[in-house]
Symmetry: C2
Subunit: 608 residues, 2 copies
């Protein structure tokens, strides 16, 4: 990993009042902040107090922003705008910040003539320069006449004043599809500031896209390493600063959002450096993943019973804790019989150098979980994901292997054909979906391979599939697109472990014979499947009998049989993949979710 | 009001499982439903059972939908699609529904040649006709070759089969800006089905717009009476049916959403009929509003104290209840000293014929509140709004006037210049914002006059201003755009009463002298105001001293001074309007909200 970059964050990225934003930025380890003017205007802290507060927190103030609609074809209006700027220069002096962002104008009186515009910016820069201040001029993607970075550079070049330079914003540049490569040719001392934001590809008004849907780098679809590289090549020496307008972040816990944002910059810096050197950053730092080592679930004796019915054998018991190791094929599941509701407690992945992987994760601001360890237990390299799941880095078979913590049993089982863990499904809390996606992506070095949005019985659900290049480790993350309505309290999506099988029908038949609680699927589903796929009657009959769900695309098919939800919020699925694809069965998810819901309501009726 | 139209709703509009949707539709009084195929596929009820269930609930099944991608340039694919249709015809027979919606194809193999397309639709219609079924062909706005209603009509005309007609969907037609007027010339018996949806004007991909942002008629920006009129003129005789894909409705209580939807159709039918006759529907039915009669708040003795400091006199006490009447100028506030937290309990408006207004409201599915009434009390015509506020229709000064319930006092006050109630601000629960807007719009006959979205300290807030044509009754509705994050529990926006004054500075000065708890506004706000507006120094000094907020636009200015939040969730504001405009002070709302939040935190610190 490259040396840590200087990082900053605009206060607009975070929820709360100005002081809460500053505290959150400092706690997350940012070096500086951009003060977003409306945050200051609503604050009871005078600018001088904000300056002291930032100093106490160890934060520099790197930018004051934004100053809007400077230029004007109306000389009186322009003169008034200069007076307005003078007032803001006074605020900046009290804040102790030397650079202000001036964005290209959107008003009907905006100046279109480049020389006249340069002249007006020169006049502003002259006033700023006299006070030791600087103007960073930025092209808004929706600016009236200046809407591209090269247009803003042309104005700055013609204005030719030492106190005038550029502010580059990745959103404004990449949302318009501009090529960032020529930025490398801009003199570095004219690049006054750099704002970074990612975004999903959306086909909508760019202003609305910008104001509501920006994301931290690595959470969206923009190629930010390809953007940052020419900026650094030009000699930009300022901080990497986040400016993200996002409806969810705006109302989420600012301390968590700040950590999420800082992680995004550290991962971006690492990826940009690796891109320059042509190496794989994760592989370099910690080795690529080679598979799932195990999944640990909390549960009780019934959890083991279900695993036994699914063909698992209890091959070991922990030396000191109420933990059992269950195995089948390459799949290992640890059951922590803590009595807590059934849920996924930990996901463990195989990697060549676990301590290096954990060190890299900690550098990416991953918290380290408290872990009680007995005297003879392996020192598992671990961090905690935003959803609370522990992540272990393992090298199964090495000398200090985790499996040494277990005493072997002589229990064996015939198995039902499970060959490994296909993927783990983790439902995410509403406020932290993008954070989780970035966390797993950066810390595990996974790539986003697919995304979907579907109508579940209680509203829309958004899902993302992550996987390593070799498809040895896959994760499926999902979130309710809006929080749940009050009419359906307490309904949160379960997590699951998808078990890889070669023949889902045979596996499900064996599992059912052994008493596994398989989830029933309505006949209506099979009537529709028949109409759509024209499957042979006997195949369809078996699907119907066993509750097989089959998602089919031109690339292949994803077949699954699910269990009921065990205890709290966990189910298991037998998964067969036909063809080479990144399906996760999401087309069938609403049917599965409706079936799980019926089982839950039926259980509740029995209990009542 | 015109006779009640036949109404239907597509199950996709509502949250939950199919049975819950059907129950909700029946409870709301719909005559029929469209069965959305994915709802059936996920349901354990076989089609025959759905048929019986609907019959038991008194619902007809008016449409089965959608059948996608029928036509194909590939003969084998087309043949398979016909077989798929045959299977669905079987489902329809079991359901007892005779019409299926076939939407224009989006696939790469969609047929572009109009005659060939007509031929394929003719083939489908022939198969349907043999079984007594009908095909309603609809142009999706994003159809590959057929994307406008007139293109779909041309195909249906050429196919010329009695079992083939059109399905018209207001969203697909109005989102493309098509003129609906020529629909009047289509033979009525070729209009097989009508789907209605409204939407806000959004500049985005039409598919995403359709899938996430549709609204019930009257909640968006489309002119639906102008759409419905030519459809009825053509002789369409089927139900008015809702097909609305909306992220919020999809996860809200289906029973409430169904009532909201049915109200939208009743109001649309009324407006369409009135449009034809060139009359004002509300005025015809119940008389236009002529002002606020009173606002009733819950509170305690301190509430009265604040009103006294604001220049109100307690002019009456209720004969039997702990309710006080406070008055100043044209403003009347009833304080119900129930001891409950301070909040708005009722809004009362003046109208020429209160019983007629209440009858019309009940026809629009407004619930009637239970009301305890003493033997000598006025029988106030009342309904309950979705946010729980009671709405009273009054004719103050009439023989059976509400004011007769009060015994006059001889208390008088000098006043501070309040002349009336400018508007009432009602914060709405997340799931019911559009419902509330439609309710107040339709039941009170108000028009949406302005809308805004602003960044509050805890996230985005959306607001809508409603007013009658004469601006005698105004309401401001607001909602948090996302639910609150867990990091800020229990923070809900307060409601408020905006009191009209001619001189806010004089009024605030008098109020403060009398001990009113005015809200302090930070100096930073006035530094910014000075930079922006160049106000005279003495004016600015008074603003700063009194906490005046000043929103200014080319149309005029909106000046306000707010009190602290009283007890639970209520504050009062003194409001001065300069110029003729529909401002509500939303530009300054984030500053006001941050200041209220600081007061709350300070109180909590004192209490702790």
């Amino acid at each position: 990993m490259s040396p840590e970059p200087r990082t900053a964050i605009a206060t607009v990225c975070l929820s709360g009042a100005l002081d809460e934003k500053l505290v959150a930025a400092a706690a997350a380890g940012f070096d500086g902040v951009e003060i977003f003017e409306p945050d200051l205007v609503a604050s009871p802290m005078p600018p001088g107090e904000v300056r002291l507060r930032c100093a106490d927190l160890g934060l520099s103030i790197d930018l004051y922003q934004p100053f809007r609609d400077l230029d004007s074809t109306d000389p009186a209006r322009f003169a008034a705008n200069l007076r307005r700027a003078d007032a803001k220069f006074g605020v900046m002096e009290a804040l102790g910040v030397d650079t202000v962002l001036v964005c290209s104008s959107v008003g009907a009186d905006a100046v279109s003539d480049v020389d006249r515009l340069a002249e007006q910016l020169h006049a502003l820069a002259a006033r700023a320069g006299e006070r030791g201040l600087r103007i960073a001029y930025e092209a808004l993607a929706w600016g009236r006449h200046v809407s591209t970075w090269d247009a803003s550079w042309e104005v700055v070049r013609r204005a030719d004043h030492p106190a005038l330079g550029l502010c580059l914003d990745s959103f404004h540049i990449l949302s318009r599809g501009s090529d960032p490569a020529p930025i490398a040719d801009v003199p570095g001392d004219k690049l006054f500031f750099l704002q970074l934001a990612d975004a999903p590809h959306l086909s909508m008004d760019v202003l609305q896209w910008s104001r509501h849907h920006r994301l931290f780098p690595g959470q969206g679809a923009f190629d930010l390493p390809a953007f940052l590289a020419p900026v650094l090549a030009a000699g930009y020496a300022g901080p990497l600063s986040l400016e993200v307008f996002n409806d969810v972040f705006r109302q989420a816990d600012p301390e968590r959002a700040a950590v999420d944002g800082r992680r995004s910059l550290l991962a971006l810096a690492e990826a940009t450096a690796a891109r320059g050197e042509g190496v794989d950053p994760v592989g370099e730092a910690a080795g690529r993943l080679s598979g799932h080592a195990f999944v640990e679930v909390s549960g009780d004796s019934s959890t083991g019973g279900v695993l036994a019915a699914l063909g698992f054998a209890r091959t070991g018991v922990h030396r000191t804790k109420p933990v059992e190791r269950w195995e089948q094929g390459g799949a290992r599941i640890l059951v922590n019989r803590s009595g807590a509701e059934a849920a996924i407690a930990a996901v463990a992945v195989e990697t060549a150098d676990p301590p290096a992987a954990a060190r890299r994760a900690v550098r990416l601001a991953a918290p380290v979980p408290p872990r009680e360890r007995g005297p003879a237990e392996a020192d598992l390299a671990a961090v905690t994901a935003p959803d609370g799941t522990a992540l272990f880095f393992c090298r199964t078979g090495a000398a200090d292997d985790w499996s040494g913590d277990f005493v072997g049993t002589d229990e064996r089982a015939e198995g039902i054909g499970v060959t490994g863990i296909d993927h783990v499904g983790l439902a995410q809390p509403f406020d932290h979906f993008d954070e989780a996606a970035l966390f797993y992506r950066s810390v595990l070095g996974l790539d986003p391979v697919t995304a979907a949005e579907f109508a579940a019985p209680f509203g829309l659900v958004r899902s993302r599939g992550l996987a390593d290049a070799g498809r040895r480790v896959r994760l499926a993350l999902s979130v309710s697109l809006l929080r749940r309505g009050r009419w359906a309290p307490g309904v949160s999506e379960p997590q699951y472990i998808a078990l890889e099988v070669d023949d889902v029908v045979a596996a499900a038949r064996a599992a059912r014979a052994a008493g596994a609680p398989l989830l029933g699927i309505p006949d209506n589903y099979y009537a529709d499947l028949e109409a759509r796929l024209e499957l042979p009657a006997d195949v369809l009959a078996e699907y119907r009998d066993l509750g097989v769900l089959r998602e089919e695309t031109p690339e292949g098919a994803y077949l699954q049989v699910c269990t009921d939800v065990l205890g709290g919020r966990l189910f298991l699925a037998l998964v067969q993949r036909i063809g080479d694809h990144d399906l996760f069965g999401w087309t069938d998810a609403p049917v599965r979710m409706a079936a799980h819901r019926r089982r839950r309501l039926a259980r509740e009726r029995v209990q009542a």
